[in-house]
């Protein structure tokens, strides 16, 4: 078990190293940092001095080492576009994305898992087929179309819910939360739904597929032959075995949520990290791009690690090794 965790940690470190290298390359070699920072009139000598002070004349290895050092100590540099420290920008926008992600993940899991189980067990019923059709559409409709549709129906036609921004938020320390105000919840609802629908359908389809596989196994047949009743069979035996592979995907989904939040934030003008990244792409704001890259990779790596550990905890075969 320790060996397993150690190995995964090493792998994670490797991945992070690679990503940081990528981010550094991006940062240093795409576009000219100096040109971005100066106006038309800056003299050549001033440009040269700037270049030296930024360390751009140092050997590449040194620059890379500095880059990594800065990252690790939280020094993220400055945005080309807004001239603000990137660290601050990220901190101020992180709560928005995080809460959005949490809300949509909740929707996805709380609805998706039961729906998946239901459609795996009840094959061919009217309700099951209806759910399947809905999820098929959910997987196929692009997030932004869902968003637009929801805005139109609930925001414009019915006027029930706000269509952009976070509404009222409460600040706790540096964290601005939407969860503590009604207006916050109202503003959160549509974006969370938009983001959540896609995740929901993915979850549901996965749970359904895994459960169907499990239900065909010998040990389920044997349990049925022993007379174990349906409820214990499905919710006890089958479910436990289904959830094992589902955990991986759920973990990855959290990452997917972060990714797709870009689109949702764009549609709803939700002031989160995704919108930040999008703007940085549009304006070729390299420092922000590279920091975002590293952060997201870190998030994924951590999630993967947690998932692997969870796997070991739940599946005795992984934990104890083979006999």
């Amino acid at each position: 078990m320790i060996a397993l965790v150690a190995r995964r940690l090493l792998q994670s470190l490797f991945v992070m190293a690679m990503v940081s290298l990528l981010a550094f390359t991006l940062f240093r070699f795409v576009g000219d940092p100096v040109a971005q920072m100066v106006g038309q009139e800056t003299s050549l000598e001033d440009q040269a001095r700037l270049r030296a002070s930024l360390g751009l004349d140092d050997p590449v290895i040194t620059q890379y080492a500095n880059f990594v050092g800065n990252l690790l100590s939280g020094e993220f540099g400055y945005s080309y576009r807004t001239r603000q420290p990137i660290g601050e920008m990220i901190l101020s926008r992180m709560p928005a994305t995080f809460e959005l992600g949490l809300a949509s993940l909740a929707i996805s899991l709380l609805l998706g898992i039961p729906a998946g189980i239901y459609t795996a067990i009840r094959r061919g019923g009217v309700v099951a087929n209806l759910i399947l059709v809905v999820t098929l559409i959910g997987v196929s409709v692009p997030t932004f179309v869902i968003g637009i549709f929801l805005i139109y129906v609930f925001g414009v036609e019915l006027g029930w819910l706000p269509t952009f921004g976070r509404g009222d938020t409460v600040q706790i320390g540096w964290w601005k939360t939407s969860f503590l105000t009604l207006d916050g919840w109202r503003s959160l609802l549509l974006p969370a739904l938009t983001l959540g629908v896609y995740q929901l359908t993915l979850t549901m389809r996965l749970v359904r597929s895994e459960m169907r596989h499990v239900l065909k196994t010998d040990y389920i047949r044997f349990a049925r032959a022993r007379g174990i009743d349906a409820r214990a069979l499905y919710l006890g035996h089958a479910l436990k075995n289904t959830l094992v592979p589902v955990i991986t995907i759920v973990g990855l989904q959290f990452g997917g949520v972060i990714a797709f939040s870009i689109v949702t934030e764009a549609v709803f003008q939700w002031p989160g990290l995704g919108l930040l990244f999008l703007d940085s792409i549009r304006y070729v704001d390299i420092p922000v791009m590279s920091v975002y890259l590293v952060l997201i990779a870190l998030l994924f790596v951590i999630i993967n690690l947690i998932v692997d550990v969870l796997y070991a905890v739940i599946d005795p075969r992984v934990r104890l090794g083979d006999a």
Binding site: A3, A6, T217, D218, Y219, R221, F222, A223, R224, A225, R226, G227, I228, D229, A230, A232, G236, H237, K240, N241, V244, I314, D315, P316, R317, L320, D322, A323
Partner: protein, 608 residues
């Protein structure tokens, strides 16, 4: 049936099956799996259901339980358990019955247990499902059951996970699970097929004891006649979904009346003496099983209806013979022994570790100082149970595995091993292999023709496409398949036919040494006999040397001139085959002979 001399009252009839018919709906239309089956099982009695694949044995077992898969339905007849009709019960009533009165055991202990639940939990859950009791009571019952099925240290093992048990132990747990609901009838579907011979014997003894002590009726479904002979009281012989013969085991197996049963018994390899060939087996038994299911029109197109046969010009079995013999005339100059192994070691997965000895592994020793010779033109049998290293040995000889130590010599010259053996080394052609699983040894996406001409291409044995086709068709005929098979794909053939194709492929390289790795283990008994006959004929006609690997002693006895016995990678016996079977030198050899269920039991006095 022979009246009982002792005049005991026969135990009451537990299960009565009359005229049972089961059909499945498939894309070929309705198919009858079993037809007009009559069968009885009495309390404390073991009734064997024996037949080859597709006979319908498992279908009967599933029908009794109401667990027919997919589209299967009982379309005729009755199933009565202690006077109560089972076939007309609703699913809900059937479900209550399951476990309570009827239980079932499946073949593979590996997949029969939920890997995420401890043994104890699975037992306790089943017990409490069927009787109202507290957990402690259920727990002590479970422990008692585990002890009864021979699991030592039962109390501690209750909290173990399934994967922590060996195959035999797992099957004991499965049996305990089936018993814990105190059923009247148990259906055991191939309960020992996945186990080693010695474990098999123990499990069979366990089943026998349980039947006697608890007066449970047991239906034992298997294709292995030795198992039937070992513990069953009466037997029902099935073929293509119909009962061919039934009666007391000793009588049916000893003096069979039905022609199919007779040919079946003739096909079983005998342990007591070596026959030159298997005689009296029905040649037509090895039909295209799929075609049989598909119906009369498809059967005709396999050539059985007398339509004009498709042929390649100039292709015939004689042509193949001539071509192969032409090679073997040069072969008489081959070195004797043709293959020599000296002090071969194979160690897997040894690793020095990646950081200060972390993760270092000593490795698994698959072969340990193995040495032997294969004499030219003879058959060396290689026997061993699972884990003995037989497959590793085959792979070492054919270059798939590199030995850690030791030398190999082929035809008097050093045989480079593993990666050192270049792809164009002559031994590549001269040593050919026949694999165990006919369903994976042929590439499903290639036509039979392209499978067969591959050796011709690789070894430049025939110049033109026309010539290759002619040779392929000829060898096909030589192994007993129609030439038309060239145009077909593997999935259209049965296991036995595929194995013939595999033999043809090997022959087309014109080899001198054939390594046959369990070539018939996956085949039905009668098909096995035909393939073994084929191998015998080819070997003697063309003077091939053969390394015949099997775990089945009886089969090896029929095939081998000399024998090597492996135990956990070490050579335990080596010498003339008959000498070994008459009187083995080692304790392990004696144990192996003792453990193999043999038909000699049929000569013992009848049980009741």
């Amino acid at each position: 049936m022979v009246p009982d001399a002792s005049n005991e009252t026969l135990p009451e009839t537990l299960l009565e099956i009359r005229d049972l018919t089961v059909t499945f709906a498939s894309r070929f239309g309705k198919q009858t799996a079993i037809e007009n089956i009559d069968m009885d099982v009495r309390r404390g009695e073991i009734v064997g259901l024996v037949g080859e694949s597709g006979a319908g044995k498992s279908t009967i077992g599933a029908a009794i339980n109401g667990l027919l898969p997919g589209t299967g339905r009982i379309t005729g007849g009755t199933v009565t358990l202690s006077g109560e009709r089972l076939d007309i019960l609703s699913e809900a009533s059937l479900h209550r019955l399951r476990g309570d009165r009827i239980s079932m055991i499946f073949q593979d202990p590996q997949t029969s247990l939920n890997p995420l639940m401890r043994i104890g939990e699975q037992l306790i859950e089943t017990i409490r499902q069927h009787r109202d009791c507290r957990e402690e009571e259920a727990r002590s019952l479970a422990i008692a059951l585990l002890e009864d099925t021979g699991i030592a240290d039962a109390a501690t093992r209750m909290s173990a996970w399934p994967h922590q048990f060996s195959g035999g132990m797992r099957q004991r747990v499965v049996i305990a699970l089936a018993l814990c609901t105190e059923p009247e009838l148990i259906t055991a579907d191939e309960p020992t097929t996945a186990l080693d011979v010695s474990i098999q014997k123990q499990i069979l003894a366990l089943i026998r004891r349980l039947a006697d002590e608890r007066q449970v009726g047991i239906i034992l479904i298997t294709h292995d006649i030795g198992v039937i002979a070992e513990i069953s009281d009466r037997v029902v012989v099935l073929r293509h979904g119909q009962v061919k013969e039934r009666g007391i085991t000793a009588r049916v197996l000893g003096q069979p009346e039905d022609s199919y049963t007779r040919s079946l018994m003739a096909a079983v390899p005998r342990m007591d003496r070596k026959l030159e060939r298997f005689r009296g087996i029905v040649e037509a038994v090895d039909t295209d099983a799929a075609a049989t299911r598909r119906g009369p029109s498809a059967r005709a197109s396999s050539g059985a209806a007398g339509k004009p046969l498709w042929r390649v010009s100039g292709a015939s079995a004689t042509a193949a013979s001539d071509w192969l013999l032409g090679e073997s005339n040069e072969r008489s100059a081959v070195h004797d022994p043709i293959l020599s192994l000296r002090h071969v070691d194979v160690i897997f997965d040894a690793s020095p570790g990646y950081l200060f000895g972390l993760g270092r592994r000593p490795g698994v020793r698959a072969l340990d100082d193995v040495s032997f010779d294969v004499a030219a033109g003879s058959v060396l049998g290689l026997v061993g149970e699972s884990g003995s290293g037989k497959s590793t040995l085959a792979k070492t000889i054919t270059g798939l595995v590199t030995p850690t130590r030791g030398t190999l010599h082929f035809d008097g010259q050093v045989l480079p091993s593993g990666r050192a053996r270049s792809r164009s080394h002559p031994s590549r052609r001269r040593i050919q292999m026949i694999f165990q699983d006919p369903f994976s040894s042929l590439n499903e996406r290639h036509s039979v023709e392209s499978i067969l001409i591959e050796p011709l291409r690789e070894y430049d044995q025939a110049g033109t496409r026309v010539e290759r086709r002619r040779l392929a068709a000829s060898v096909l005929e030589l192994v007993g398949l129609p030439q038309r098979a060239l145009l077909r794909y593997p999935h259209q053939f049965s296991g036995g036919q595929r194995q013939r194709i595999a033999v043809a492929r090997a022959l087309l390289a014109r080899p001198e040494l054939l390594v046959a790795d369990e070539p018939t283990s996956a085949l039905d008994v009668s098909v096995q006999a035909q393939i073994l006959n084929l191998l015998k004929d080819l070997q003697s006609t063309f003077g091939l040397s053969m390394l015949f690997i099997s775990h089945n002693l009886a089969v090896v006895r029929q095939m081998a001139d000399r024998i090597v016995v492996l135990k956990q990678g070490q050579r335990v016996e080596y010498g003339a085959s008959e000498a070994f079977f008459e009187s083995p030198v080692s304790a392990y050899g004696r144990e192996l002979l003792r453990e193999t269920p043999s038909l000699a039991l049929l000569d013992a006095p009848p049980r009741r």
